[in-house]
């Protein structure tokens, strides 16, 4: 069944006529995603291939059933575009942009919560239910259907892990990029909960990194709520304390969010932690007793 996105999910692209927007729209279409409309203020009435472009989200949803929207909008304007999608009643919003101001993100989260919209990101590569629907920028060829659910904070590292799985014959049910920012919508616990309920998903791979406390919270949740096997890979073992390593979250502060602390939390929950990315499939073999 997969989670969040399905074969019949209808998708809107905000910022469809831009460089990134048009390129990735075509990539998503070639993956099989049902893109029903795009929005670019000032460009209503145009088309991208055979996808109609609208001036506003309200105009797009008047003509089409839209289940999810993805933003290819420069960070300074992302708040307005996100509000527009939420206000139009769209239930899944993928916030792709990096560098959205933190206060804008908090405002988006508050409005989304009030309207019941699920937000993915910001600073995410998106979500893909393999073989069914991809909303994001991940390279198509690594995301083949299967029974492993993957949830990750970082993008390229997640592709790396998924490519390792694919090479060993493991396809994926759904792959969710939470995003690298300090405040993001979906978190590990939300996604673990969905994977636990999903019949297609047999095992879960969680890709975390140093900084913040979301891995520790996930470990605590797994202990009493997840019966399926979970395998973890954590990046940042070698990172020196106090240095910011790119992601806003990847900073070790006040003794919290350390690599060792996270490993201990998972081990206490009975969850194996891979030392290196390429070890994940082997640990999965053991967990699934292949």
């Amino acid at each position: 069944m997969a989670i969040y996105l399905f074969a019949d999910t209808q998708v809107l692209v905000q910022g469809i006529t831009g460089n990134q927007g048009s390129f990735h729209t075509r990539q998503m279409v070639s993956y099989g995603t049902r893109i029903v409309a795009g929005v670019s203020p000032g460009k209503g009435g145009q088309n991208l291939d055979d996808i109609p472009v609208y001036h506003t989200v309200a105009a797009a949803v008047a003509d089409h059933r839209v289940d999810a929207s993805i933003l290819f909008i420069p960070a300074p304007f992302a708040k307005d575009a996100a509000f527009e999608a939420i206000d139009a009643g769209i239930k899944i919003l993928v916030l792709l942009p990096e560098h959205i101001p933190l206060h804008d993100t908090m405002a988006i989260m508050a409005f989304a919560q009030c309207r019941g919209t699920t937000v993915v990101g910001p600073n995410t590569f998106g979500v893909v239910s393999s073989g069914k629907c991809k909303i994001g920028i991940m390279p198509n060829r690594f995301f083949l259907p299967g029974n492993i659910g993957v949830v990750s904070r970082s993008g390229t590292l997640c592709y790396e892990i998924v490519a390792n799985l694919t090479a060993c014959g493991y396809g994926t049910s759904t792959v969710v990029g939470l995003g690298g920012d300090r405040v993001v919508g979906l978190n590990f616990i939300d996604v673990l909960q969905e994977f636990e309920k999903d019949q297609q998903t047999e095992a879960i791979v969680l890709v975390g990194e140093i900084g913040g406390s979301s891995e520790e919270e996930a470990a605590e949740f797994i202990k009493s709520n997840v019966t399926k096997p979970v395998i973890v890979y954590l990046a940042g073992k070698s990172a020196p304390p106090g240095k910011r390593m790119g992601h806003a979250g990847a900073i070790i502060e006040r003794g919290k969010g350390t690599f060792e602390g996270k490993v201990q939390a998972f081990e206490a929950a009975g969850v194996p932690v891979a030392q290196l990315p390429f070890q994940v499939p082997g640990i999965l073999d053991k967990a699934l007793k292949k």
Binding site: P101, A107, G155, G212, G236, A250
Partner: protein, 369 residues
């Protein structure tokens, strides 16, 4: 972007939060002049680090000659790894109690959080959980009177003090929102008699919002190379090892560093070229790595939106134009991989497919030297 204490206090004052009388001095003469005017003073070294008191960066005196001498000692000195370029000279407060007050961002709740304690001061990090008041704020309603009533109730203060703290909280939240702060922290918030005064200010502004905060001064915390990388749109951190690293994506760059460590090597830097880096950006990133004269360069590319042929072209360009005098180990997979491999082969480089093999090779080269 972290602000110096004196900049933070200027902001507090702008928003009407009481701060001690004083001013900032860049020379011993300026410090003496301020001390002569104020009388009994405290001199505080302006660095972007806490624990200044324990490092000797905070001194008290009621004599302007001594103030001049202390300022002369502090200015230009190294404190906690930072060079002192300014000293804040302020009226010494009569301190009856020290509180802690901060507004920050709670990642788990996705909301702002107020942190307060009646046990503020130097050891705030060791204050037990039960002495810390924490309250999330809903951004749609903001700092309402019911919030400040609850916080001052839990702090257990007199009505006179509660009224002042409530006012400070309102102003502090307005500053937090309007200035796009990630953190506004007052530690200690001093109770002097019946007056509440902010004796320190630690403010961090969200880097991603600096484009709309043009009134703020620029505070540079990066090294020269880190600054250059930032201007190129690269995420770069200097480390002190031997293998220069470039990868695309923060997570995979960290994983690359972990692999180097696993095989017994050390990384010279963290360089995340980001997703979708083009030819020019990649070439500049390579030049940045070369400038640090590493023993070997390890490039780990998993092309999603980044195109392998672009990275290979950038490498060929730098090699043909400036030359690359150190061994380079490449790992290249993903979008346009075949084309990228061909370009590298023409430059005499056989790229690896697996990142751990590439990392292992880079470490072997260093050890072989």
């Amino acid at each position: 972007m972290k602000l110096y204490e004196y900049m933070g206090k200027e902001l507090l004052a702008e928003y009407g939060i009481p701060i001690p009388e004083g001013g900032v001095a860049a020379t011993a003469e300026e410090a003496a002049e301020l001390a002569g005017k104020i009388g009994s003073v405290v001199l505080k070294a302006q660095i972007l680090s806490g624990k200044r008191g324990k490092a000797g960066g905070i001194c008290f005196t009621d004599n302007y000659v001594e103030a001049s001498r202390v300022a002369a000692d502090l200015l230009g000195s190294q404190l906690n790894g930072y060079q002192v370029e300014a000293v804040l000279v302020e009226k010494k407060l009569q301190i009856d109690r020290e509180f802690y007050l901060a507004i920050s961002v709670d990642s788990a709740a996705r909301k702002p959080i107020i942190l307060a304690s009646a046990k503020g001061g130097i050891d705030i990090e060791d204050v037990p959980e039960e002495d810390l008041v924490k309250m999330n704020l809903d951004v749609t309603v903001g700092m309402q009177p019911f919030v400040t009533r609850e916080i001052t109730r839990r702090l257990g203060v007199t009505d006179v003090v509660a009224k002042q703290i409530a006012e400070i909280l309102g102003k502090l939240y307005r500053l937090f929102v309007e200035m796009d702060a990630e953190l506004v922290e007052i530690n200690p918030l001093v109770i002097s008699g019946e007056t509440v005064i902010a004796a320190d200010a630690k403010i961090t502004i969200d880097d991603d919002a600096l484009f709309r905060q043009s009134s703020l001064p620029t505070v540079q915390e990066r090294t020269a190379a880190e600054k250059q990388a930032h201007e190129l749109g690269l995420s770069y951190v200097e480390l002190d090892g031997e293998i220069a690293v470039m990868a695309n994506g923060a997570g995979i760059t960290m994983a690359t560093l972990d692999l180097i460590q696993f095989y017994g090597g050390t990384a010279a830097n963290f360089l995340d070229a980001g997703g979708g880096a083009g030819i020019e950006q990649t070439a500049k990133a390579l030049e940045l790595l070369l400038a640090k004269k590493p023993k070997v360069i390890l490039i780990n590319i998993f092309g999603g939106i980044t195109r392998c042929d672009d990275v290979a072209k950038a490498f060929a360009y730098v090699k043909q134009n400036g030359g690359i005098p150190v061994p380079v180990v490449f790992r290249l997979v993903g979008t346009n991989e075949e084309r990228g491999r061909e370009i590298l082969l023409a430059e005499g480089i056989n790229a690896y497919k697996l990142m751990h093999e590439a990392a292992q090779k880079a470490v072997e080269i260093v050890k072989g030297n």
